[in-house]
């Protein structure tokens, strides 16, 4: 296939998700907490649900990552949604249905889903 200048953009778009993930560039970040407590209450399914939503949406500039226990084991599975420039929001007692709503409302539109949210912000580190 012989490329034209505009084809560079097409390839670049195809690679965008991968490029963003490696350089840490994105407008939003989803973190699923996967401590022992999280895993025991099904955080892997929650992770998969987020990944599926991400794939269906076709969004390239949303980072997905996992981390350890958030310290509130009784409220697992948990996830943190961070829209660039805003304080992070922690969601608790997640289910697949809640994931869908959080993704559609918060990640895509910026509206916090109050009913599943624990609160805004993170504890200070250091």
């Amino acid at each position: 296939m012989k490329l034209k200048p505009e084809d560079l953009k097409k390839i670049s778009d195809k690679m965008e998700a991968s490029t963003n993930l490696r350089s840490g560039a994105g407008r939003a970040k989803i973190t699923v907490h996967m401590g022992t407590c999280g895993i025991a209450t099904g955080s892997r399914d929650i992770m998969k649900a987020f990944l599926e939503e991400l794939e269906t949406s076709g969004q390239k500039d949303i980072l997905f990552t996992t981390s350890g226990c958030a310290g509130l084991c009784s409220h697992e599975p948990m996830a943190t949604i961070e829209i660039k420039g805003e304080s992070p929001v922690k969601y608790v007692h997640l289910t697949k249905e809640k994931v869908k709503k959080i993704f559609d409302e918060h990640v895509m539109k910026g509206n916090i889903v109050e009913e599943s949210a624990l609160g805004r912000g993170s504890e200070r580190v250091g």
């Binding site: 296939m1 560079l8 195809k14 991968s18 490029t19 907490h33 990944l51």
Partner: protein, 598 residues
């Protein structure tokens, strides 16, 4: 296609590969499949990430988590903990020397923090064998830009205005060089990439070719358009098999996309590249020798002028630049001369890649803005001298450069600042030496190298380096004469001013700088028969301290020439007539009982 949620950027540069990076990759793939994670987690082989000392290394994205010194046995635990359960594993993270807490993120590690990446912009971020990943990071957009928007004159002007100077050693203005080649009459012109890196301890160019081969091809295509060439050569030494493999793959992929070949981007511009493998003669780094070798002749330099820009390959106008120079081109085109020239100093613009080696804690490849001090490179980035020893000097520019002593450590990196103190930036080797290095021996070592690599064509280099080496060898053996230093100085001036090419002309640099900054060491060898650093074998003796020897017999058992005798629990003695001064006894003694005297 489902996107991978996590990317394991595994270093597959030569350093890490020799530390079994490919075995680790296999282990990762096996463990990931065991946990059914192969569709979620992608393993990416990247080029050299620079921190060779800590290899094999890997960066996990997202998160920027840096893992070091991985071994195959660590992989199952790492996969289960981090990639399945999401808990980064502290025990494989970097802990700075003298520190206690691991630093999880690459961007927080001192070694990486002070670096500024332009030539190495894609380091660790792409798979060098995947052209789409290169394009994903603005690859070939600079070529598209010059072909659609710029005239060759404008390209030359942009490169000239950027202030970029040759990164191979000479430091000549790249834009001016292009201008000469462009203005040379001729319908057939050539472009060459000099990847014949041969300085001891230098591996900048190899790493760039290995980690980002397309950046070279794109730079060369832009240069070819600017001067009016249609064919390019990459002259790379055959000792760099991984670099050869990756550049060939890159050429194949670029041809498939029509980024090399005829009518590139339908702009009526034809350009193709071929790879020529060199047999590893140091003199081939000199441009006229390289061209002779490319033509199938003996690799010997010739008198300039005419310069290759007028009469190069097959007598046609030829522009030759070093790997790192080519790697800067696409960034200058995309971001502009003004941006590039805002980095660095008045006369040295942009960044420079150095290979930091020798007795430094963080051995590796670093890219820093021009103007940073030598001290910052060695102490902040390099983490200081190994084993808490005292810093003595750093040799920059390989065998053509000079030694920079402690007192000049605050010299800013730049072509002119280094020249002023008798050294050169060169292609970017930096060999750190500590208090145990004898500076006469250092000079002898480098001269032995240039003497061996001298092509023999001109008399000053062929005969002169041999005589200088004889004198230096004699001094290290304690047979130096009072007049030796004057003779050396005379010869340095003579060889420097009369040699045909830079190999001979710069060969005296290590001798001149060590004589200037460490004259007392030369004098101790000659006048007192003493080696202050206790390195020159003819001038030292090994003895065992009676008050420290416990009679453990370890040294006696390990001595390869059985020069050590002594009863168990009795004091041991070294026979100086048998001792070959290999240093094994000192290395194995747990009680510090072996001493070197001079």
């Amino acid at each position: 296609m489902q996107e991978y949620r996590m990317h394991l950027m595994l270093c597959a540069g030569t350093g890490c590969v020799s530390n079994h990076a490919f075995d680790i990759e296999k282990a990762f793939k096996r463990e990931l499949e065991k946990h059914n994670l192969q569709d979620e987690v992608q393993v990416v082989d990247t080029g050299c990430q620079g921190f060779c000392e800590r290899g094999p290394i890997m960066i996990v994205q997202p998160g920027d988590i840096f893992y070091e010194m991985l071994e195959e046995k660590d992989i199952p635990y790492l996969v289960e903990e981090h990639f399945l359960k999401g808990r980064p594993v502290e025990k494989h993270m970097y802990v700075p020397k003298g520190g206690e807490n691991p630093i999880p993120k690459l961007s927080d590690i001192g070694f990486f923090k002070k670096q500024k990446l332009i030539a190495l912009a894609n380091r660790g971020l792409i798979d060098p064998e995947n052209i789409d990943e290169y394009i994903g990071r603005e690859g070939y957009s600079a070529l598209a830009k010059v072909l659609s928007e710029m005239t060759p004159e404008e390209v030359v002007k942009e490169v000239k205005d950027s202030g970029l100077r040759g990164r191979g050693g000479g430091g000549f203005s790249t834009g001016t060089k292009w201008e000469f080649a462009k203005n040379s009459p001729g319908d057939e012109k050539y472009i060459i990439c000099n990847a014949d890196e041969g300085d001891p301890g230098a591996f900048m160019d190899r790493s760039i070719v290995e980690s980002d081969p397309h950046v070279i091809l794109e730079g060369m295509a832009i240069g070819a358009y600017a001067i009016g060439a249609t064919h390019g050569f990459i002259y790379v030494r055959d000792e760099y098999p991984l670099a050869v493999e990756r550049i060939n793959k890159a050429i194949k992929d670029a041809r498939e996309y029509g980024l090399l070949g005829e009518d590139i981007f339908e702009a009526g511009f034809d350009f193709d590249v071929s790879v020529s493998r060199g047999a590893g003669a140091f003199v081939c780094g000199e441009e006229t020798s390289l061209i002779a070798s490319l033509e199938g002749n003996m690799p010997e330099p010739r008198v300039r002028p005419p310069y290759p820009a007028v009469a190069g390959y097959k007598g046609k106008p030829t522009n030759i630049n070093n790997v790192e120079t080519w790697a800067n081109i696409r960034h200058i085109i995309n971001r502009g001369a003004e941006w590039y020239s805002s980095i660095g100093t008045e006369t040295s613009k942009g960044t420079k890649v150095f290979s930091l080696v020798g007795k430094v804690n963080n051995t590796g490849l670093v890219e820093v803005p021009m103007g940073i001090s030598v001290r910052d490179i060695i102490f902040d980035i390099g983490g200081g001298v190994m084993n808490g020893k005292k810093f003595k000097a750093v040799q920059t520019g390989g065998p053509s450069g000079g030694c920079i002593p402690e007192s000049l450590m605050d010299t800013p990196v730049g072509y002119d600042t280094f020249a002023k103190i008798g050294s050169i930036v060169g292609s970017g080797g930096m060999i750190v030496m500590d208090e145990d290095n004898c500076m006469v021996e250092v000079a002898r070592y480098f001269l032995a190298f240039t003497q061996q690599e001298s092509c023999g064509k001109c008399t000053p280099c062929r005969e002169g380096t041999r005589h200088m080496l004889d004198i230096l060898t004699r001094i290290t053996e304690g047979k130096g004469k009072e007049e030796d230093l004057d003779v050396l100085e005379d010869m340095c001036g003579l060889i420097g001013s009369t040699s045909l090419c830079a190999l001979g002309a710069t060969a005296p640099n290590p001798v001149l700088t060590t004589m200037k900054y460490f004259r007392d060491e030369y004098e101790a060898h000659i006048k007192e028969g003493r080696c202050p650093a206790k390195e020159c074998k003819s001038l030292i003796t090994y003895t065992i301290l009676e008050d420290k020897c416990t009679g453990c017999t370890l040294c006696a058992r390990d001595c390869p020439v059985t020069a050590i005798t002594g009863e168990r629990k009795g004091i041991h003695v070294i026979d100086p007539d048998i001792c070959v001064k290999c240093g094994i006894c000192k290395a194995v003694c747990n009680f510090g009982a072996v001493r070197i005297e001079s």
